[in-house]
């Protein structure tokens, strides 16, 4: 994965080490004092702080040097706003932070000042799934008296050697903004291209080669569960800097240019070494077809190349050479894509890098190209004309490149031919020989992912339910169970995922036996088989027995049961179709007195159907829940809330059994 920006440890680090700036009292600068007493932007009682003023001045000195001055000042309103008294700035081996200073103007008393020498530098320790080694660090400075009622502010300068001639002004965050300025100073002859996203365009003022934009009274964004990713909703200004004569490998104004930039980084990295060629031959020698050869290579790269990210400098975007990856048997996502591409080439199959984000909702054709959109690298594999197989479903017909299979060499749980949900219907940048092309990846049919659960159960007159359950998990549903079981460190703990699943629905149960099928055979459906006994499942009510026909599984959600109206769309992780079938043998001496009504709820984004029937002495419950559209817009959120309530009601509905003849 590419480097994530993680600031979460910063506050903890400062607290843990107890670093406190030394005594250097001084007045806050005039630009901060001018903010005392200003009218605050609109906010509610849950707002931790408001951004009174921010300023970002970007001075492009050359294609290799950009200086950026940053100033911000917050009014802290609540205890949670104390975190704005921690100044944080990221840097790496190609950039440095200088002149960091912070001030506090307390509601009463003298100002405080802290300086660069009081700052702390941190980098992340080893975290599973993140970079093992990275040169990204954070510089932190703690401002004294960062308490409610006080104004805190800071400034610093960043001097960088940019990888790309582009800057992003993210002026909208979780806090309301009173006023925010963005200034670009370009060398003579340079031009810029500015694109506004998720916010009405503000016209700039221009003086010579200096351009300035100002926004004011920007609303804060309050995070919601299952909302689109931040860049898909927050106000941003993307500015590309264009030197005379074009970007010279450092800038891009369209997706084609960005593809070219990436292609330049990847050039020569896929060249196979003799050892790679030898391994390809060994892996494919017994494969009768081209498809079998591709599958063998995919299995090798997914399984045998360990995920390890070492990202220094441009290494966040540039893969290591394939021979190096092969020798070490480790690499990050772009390394794995590189090696896979190299190996495919050796069997005569061409492939192309795809830059993508693991969260849908960022990059789109109507949005400007920028490297910040993407955090993952996968492959588009050109399928030979004679390779046609029903297992190959994640396929795109590209007008230039032909029939392409989308494949993620990092995802060891999704087999060659399929694609996990978060990448489906997502936009990826195809890196082609003649530039980039932003392409929407396929959305697979819902039936390819989901849980198919069947239960054959018997109810005793005392209310004990016992029997067998089979869960067949397809697509992402199987992926997550495989991933969970992989982390189990004791044989006896392998039952815990099943216990977790069952405990969501049954208050009293014993798992008598349980087996897992196809744990490692990712091209086969993952399966749980288990037997359970649930005492007191059916409740006695006088002479009646109350039985919930929906024995296991929860499809309802209370995510929309909030006081505040929903602001953003609800995103599903991927298409899915879940089915439950439970057959419960009714105890002798009892017959059905009352059944829950059938449910048929149909919406454009999802559907839910359930039915409880009696056949002989068997109570049969069936239901299907299908996710058809991956995003539910705000205009349809009330329908989704209604659907979740319908499902919740159905999941609690009860059948009533009575003694025969009563």
């Amino acid at each position: 994965m590419r480097r994530p920006l993680i600031y979460l440890t910063t506050l903890l680090t400062l607290c843990a080490i107890g670093q406190a700036p030394s005594a250097f009292a001084g007045d806050a600068p005039g630009w901060m004092h001018a903010l005392v007493g200003v009218t605050l932007p609109a906010h509610d009682e849950k707002t931790d702080a408001v951004l009174l003023y921010s300023e970002r001045i970007v001075t492009v000195q050359s294609a290799d040097k950009i200086k950026t001055t940053v100033r911000e000042a917050y009014k802290i309103l609540r205890p949670g706003g104390r975190e704005y008294g921690i100044v944080a700035a990221s840097f790496n081996s190609h950039s440095k932070i200088t002149g960091m200073r912070g001030w506090c103007i307390p509601a009463q008393g003298k100002d405080y000042e802290v300086k660069d020498k009081d700052a702390v530098e941190i980098s992340l320790p080893k975290i599973e799934g993140s970079e093992l080694v990275s040169d990204v660090k954070d510089k932190l400075l703690r401002i004294p008296a960062s308490d409610p009622g006080n104004i805190v502010g800071f400034e610093y300068e960043e001097e960088s050697q940019p990888f790309v001639l582009q800057d992003i002004w993210g002026f909208q965050g979780t806090n309301p903004v009173r006023e925010s300025h963005y200034t670009v100073q370009l060398p003579a002859g340079w031009e810029y291209k500015a694109t506004w996203m998720n916010y009405p365009e503000a016209k700039p003022t221009q003086t010579g080669n200096q351009v300035q934009w100002v926004v004011s009274d920007v609303k804060g964004i309050r995070p919601e569960g299952e909302m689109p990713p931040w860049p898909g909703i927050a106000g941003l200004l993307v500015v590309s800097f264009v030197p005379p004569g074009g970007g010279a490998n450092k800038g891009f104004q369209n997706w084609r240019d960005m593809g070219n930039w990436e292609a330049g980084l990847e050039q020569g990295r896929r060249d196979a070494s003799p050892e790679i060629k030898q391994k390809v031959a060994a892996l494919t020698v017994s494969s009768a077809t081209q498809l079998a050869k591709m599958q063998a290579l995919a299995k090798f790269v997914q399984g045998d190349i360990r995920y390890v990210a070492i990202e220094l400098g441009i290494g966040g975007w540039q893969p290591h050479p394939a021979p190096e990856i092969f020798t070490h048997r480790y690499g990050d996502c772009k390394d794995k894509a590189t090696l896979m591409s190299s190996m495919l080439h050796e069997i005569g199959v061409e492939s192309y890098f795809i830059s993508i984000n693991t969260v849908r909702g960022g990059a789109a054709p109507d949005r400007p190209p920028m490297i910040g959109w993407f955090n993952h690298e996968i492959l588009a594999v050109r399928l030979p004309d004679d390779v046609k197989d029903k297992s190959l479903v994640a396929v795109v017909d590209h007008p230039k490149l032909g029939r392409l299979l989308i494949f993620d060499p990092t995802d060891e749980y999704t087999p060659f031919g399929q694609l996990r949900g978060e990448l489906q219907a997502n936009y990826g940048l195809f890196v082609m020989p003649d530039g980039g092309d932003l392409v929407r990846l396929p959305q697979l049919p819902p039936a390819m992912s989901g849980v198919q659960r069947t239960g054959k159960l018997t109810l005793s007159p005392k209310g004990t339910l016992s029997g067998e359950i089979v869960e067949t998990r397809l697509g992402d549903s199987g992926l997550w169970q495989r991933a969970m079981l992989k982390t189990v460190t004791k044989e006896s703990d392998k039952i815990k995922p099943i216990e977790n699943l069952v405990s969501n629905s049954l208050s009293t149960f014993q798992i008598i036996k349980a087996t897992v099928s196809n744990l490692n055979q990712t091209d086969q459906p993952f399966e749980y088989h288990y037997s359970l006994v649930a005492e007191n499942y059916a409740k006695m009510a006088g002479s009646l027995l109350l039985v919930r026909p929906r024995v296991l599984g929860t499809k309802s959600s209370d995510i929309l049961e909030t006081k505040e109206p929903r602001q953003f769309a609800v995103e599903f992780p991927g298409p899915a179709r879940d089915t439950d079938t439970f057959e419960i043998a009714i105890p002798s001496g009892y017959e059905v007195d009352d059944l829950p009504p059938p449910i048929n709820a149909e919406y454009s984004f999802a559907s839910y159907h359930s039915q409880t029937e009696v056949s002989g002495n068997t109570l049969k419950y069936t239901r299907t829940f299908e996710v058809k559209e991956l995003s539910v817009p705000v205009s349809k959120v009330d329908d989704l809330k209604k659907l979740y309530r319908i499902i919740a009601g159905d999941e609690r509905n009860t059948a009533v059994l009575k003694p025969v003849g009563q």
Binding site: I17, E45, P79, V133, K486, S507, L546, E561, R645, V656
Partner: protein, 654 residues
């Protein structure tokens, strides 16, 4: 109260050290690998393990040019185990340095891939006077079946001696491990193994100037819900240096320490006259002893406690110009002190009022359990005051904000403490409040609508430790956050999504024994449909118990922080013409230490449900886990019972 955390006991060696350095690690000193190790694909003692330590070795030398040699050999058994190929060795620059890293991967066929790359220097935290670094590297070609091994030397800072540990229980099963320590000879060293040693392991022995230990088949450490502090479950050997008390006899050791503590307390509190004057302004001559002590307690709780204030930057502290507090008289005049000083003020005032009172140094039980035989003073990390009141022992911690008179915070309850006196003191045990002290009482007056929803008012009364815990947790928050906190509490209690609004202003700031929250509540679709009938579940507040002890297997003892009780009364007015057609049988599970009672009654169109759950336990042996699990299954089953209603005209609709 004083939760002092002693991160590291450091003893400075004043003597100058020669500049002689540790010799570098030599090139190819790998231990031989047996064919069995190469072939191994599982370990019977650790079925399903992702990897195991085949061998670990730690050789530490605490002499002047101290160093520590580490050798690690790991067998990779599953895909998950391959992550152990990524290695990070953290260290504090200034305490030492890591060098001489050698590493290699031995493939299942015995061929070797040497680590020839670079160990990256990672600065995790760099600040004034502090640098926390790590050496990070990853091994090549790590596959299932591979053996990875690495070794390195940690050069310890010159002129310093550090306490150290041998941690025997690690994240992975350990097949064999060897440890040695060459102690520094200029200081007394005491070593102990607080929870014992793995079965079959001999106690550490000192011979020829080296302390040695060998162990084998040490289980991997496992994390479980409701388990005691990790320190109480991990096998380890602790080494503690001391420059002034190398006493080996436990009784004498603590007597000696007790005298030192007592001298400190007496030096601080010995201002009898000033305290008598102070107490005269607090109590009235005709107050009863109870009233006197309570008034003194209340007064001390009002004194500014600097331990509870947010950490200040150096500038803030300097600007505040706080004067030193050297004794109770200073404290009384200046009006502030830290937690320990405030407790000593209470002690001095109580004595001045004529009470027999003692300072008691205690060991709180949230991180480890006190063991006198360990003879480490850092174990006694807090203090309370013992007062004889009407012939009874009353333990007080007035420095604990929000603690009512006579109630200690849970980590200080039921723990051993050293009651100080001039002879070195004696051991006492603090009070453990019964479950009836720490209650959550929930009262709901609800109406059921014809659509099956509940609407009405709820009040929740937290008492004892339940109130204290919440006040401590929310002490730095504002009203909006506290409101959300209490609304979220109710959401946690009710097993379905709710619409809730806190309607009162709870008393967050006092040390009252209760904290009361009142709400308006709506529960959509609480009654479910069953054709012509409607069903209402009994356990409106049963969500907290839904997932307690859901797993059948248990390794560690079960640890509750304190005994507690939940008492619920729910009244539901039914829609007009609706009738109760059936009530579930009452539940009464009384196992003495735990109790669950659930009962529903029909009172002419009004349903009354009462529920009581009591847990009078702190520690439960894992052997009793099935019984405890079974009890909570009964609780859940009882909560799931339903009242059958007969709607007047139409059935309930969802």
């Amino acid at each position: 109260m004083n939760f002092r955390r002693v991160f590291l006991m450091v003893v400075v060696l004043m003597a100058g050290a020669a500049a002689q350095r540790t010799p570098p690690v030599s090139g190819d000193d790998w231990l031989p690998i047996s064919p069995e190790e190469l072939k191994m694909n599982s370990v019977p003692e650790a079925p399903g393990a992702p990897a195991v330590y085949l061998y670990r070795q730690v050789d530490r030398d605490d002499s002047r040019n101290g160093h520590e040699y580490n050798y690690v050999r790991i067998k990779i058994l599953t895909e998950e185990g391959r992550k152990y190929g990524d290695v990070e060795i953290p260290f504090f620059k200034g305490e030492g340095n890591v060098f001489g890293i050698k590493a290699r991967t031995i493939r299942p066929d015995g061929s070797i891939a040497n680590f020839e790359g670079k160990a990256f220097d990672k600065t995790i935290v760099k600040a004034k006077g502090l640098k926390y670094q790590a050496k990070t590297f990853t091994l090549p070609d790590v596959q299932v079946g591979s053996i990875i091994e690495y070794r390195y030397m940690m050069d310890l800072a010159e002129n310093w001696v550090f306490n150290s540990h041998w941690i025997l229980s690690e994240e992975l099963f350990t097949k064999r491990a060897k440890f040695t320590l060459k102690p520094n000879t200029e200081f007394g060293l005491r070593w102990s193994w607080p929870i014992g040693l793995p079965p079959g392991t001999n106690a550490p022995e000192k011979e020829g100037g080296l302390i040695r230990l060998e162990t084998q088949n040490v289980p991997a450490f496992q994390v479980e819900d409701y388990m005691p502090p990790e320190n109480e479950l991990k096998y380890r050997v602790d080494f503690v240096y001391s420059d002034n008390n190398d006493e080996q006899d436990t009784v004498k050791f603590w007597k000696k320490e007790g005298k030192r503590y007592n001298d400190r307390v007496e030096a601080f509190t010995g201002r009898r006259k000033a305290m008598e004057q102070a107490v005269a302004g607090i109590v009235a001559p005709n107050d009863t002893p109870d009233a006197k002590l309570q008034k003194i307690y209340d007064r001390v709780q009002k004194v500014r406690n600097t331990s509870w204030e947010a950490s200040k930057t150096e500038q803030e502290a300097k600007r505040e110009k706080q004067k030193d507090v050297n004794n109770v008289e200073d404290l009384w005049k200046q009006g502030y002190g830290d937690s320990r000083q405030l407790n000593w003020l209470f002690l001095a005032l109580a004595r001045a009022a004529g009470f027999e009172a003692y300072s008691v140094y205690i060991s709180s039980r949230n991180e480890y359990f006190f063991k006198p035989q360990v003879m480490s003073v850092s174990q006694l990390n807090g203090d309370v005051v013992l007062v004889k009141l009407n012939g009874k022992d009353v333990y007080c911690d007035p420095a604990m904000k929000f603690a009512p008179f006579g109630l200690l915070p849970w980590p200080e309850t039921g723990v051993q403490g050293l009651k100080l006196d001039k002879d070195g003191g004696s051991w006492v045990t603090t009070t453990l409040p019964q479950s009836s002290v720490s209650q959550i009482q929930r009262k709901a007056d609800m109406k059921l609508t014809e659509t099956g929803s509940l609407e009405g008012k709820v009040s929740v009364t937290f008492s004892g430790l339940e109130a204290l815990q919440r006040r401590i947790e929310e002490r730095n928050e504002d009203d909006a956050n506290r409101k959300k906190f209490l609304e979220d509490q109710l959401r946690e209690y009710i097993p379905v999504g709710i619409d809730v609004e806190l309607t009162n202003k709870p008393d967050w700031g006092s040390s009252a024994s209760t904290l009361v929250a009142e709400y308006d509540l709506k529960v959509q679709g609480w009654a479910s449909g069953a054709g012509k009938r409607a069903l209402v579940p009994m356990g409106l507040f049963g969500a907290t118990e839904k997932h307690v002890f859901e797993h059948a297997n248990r390794v560690h003892p079960i640890y509750f922080e304190y005994p507690f009780e939940k008492i619920d009364e729910v009244t539901i007015d039914l829609p007009l013409a609706w009738k109760v057609s059936s009530l579930p049988a009452a539940q009464n599970q009384d196992a003495k230490a735990v109790l669950y009672v659930m009962k529903a009654e029909d009172d002419k169109g009004t349903l009354h449900v009462t529920r009581r759950l009591r847990v009078d336990l702190v520690m439960v042996d894992p052997k009793s886990y099935p019984v405890l699990r079974s009890f909570f299954q009964v609780v859940r089953s009882g909560d799931d019972q339903q009242v059958v209603l007969q709607p007047g005209t139409a059935a309930v609709s969802n």
